[in-house]
Symmetry: C2
Subunit: 103 residues, 2 copies
């Protein structure tokens, strides 16, 4: 059972796209944050403020990263990075459990 220890969890969820994407903010002792989230099947586009590392804990999605013309498939155990101040598109194939880190 992998977990984050000695952290703070914001009680209220982040809710996007009518609940099809939701997440919880986890704050670490050094002030850094991660979000643990769920994406329901569907097509989404997100913008980044920071560099992001998206780790797929369960599920499956195709991703169109900024500047790319080909969609890439990501499944459980895989991850991808998105540069700050950019947009990326997702085609979520299966309910996806993800962890997003900001750096």
């Amino acid at each position: 059972m992998s977990s984050f220890e000695n952290v703070e969890v914001v009680k209220a969820a982040n809710i996007y796209f009518d609940g099809k994407v939701t997440s919880r903010v986890v704050v670490f002792a050094d002030g850094s944050k991660k979000t643990l989230g769920i994406m329901m099947p569907g097509d989404y586009e997100f913008g980044t403020d920071d560099n992001e590392l998206m780790e797929i804990q369960a599920g499956e999605m195709d991703v169109l990263l900024p500047g790319e013309s080909d969609w890439q498939a990501f499944a459980q155990g895989s991850s991808f990075e998105v540069p700050k101040n950019s947009n990326f598109k997702l085609k979520v194939k299966e309910v996806t459990d993800y962890c997003c880190s900001y750096f």
Copy 2:
């Protein structure tokens, strides 16, 4: 921004009803647990192993508590208790963000 401090968060989500109900387990220093979860609109039935306190952080649902014949409406800021080893039914009207405590 209300949050839980000095806790452990299990990384993997609990996923029920094809992702329409999901939650994260938060473990406290005293070993007690809570879950922070999301329910999409829909009808659900749950069983309890422990006594549960369900706090509605956002959203709206009707609840049929064990032994009751009338549905009761619960919205943001309200809560209800469910005795252990019993079942309760939910009609979730709006995407609901909840916190469940076990005692």
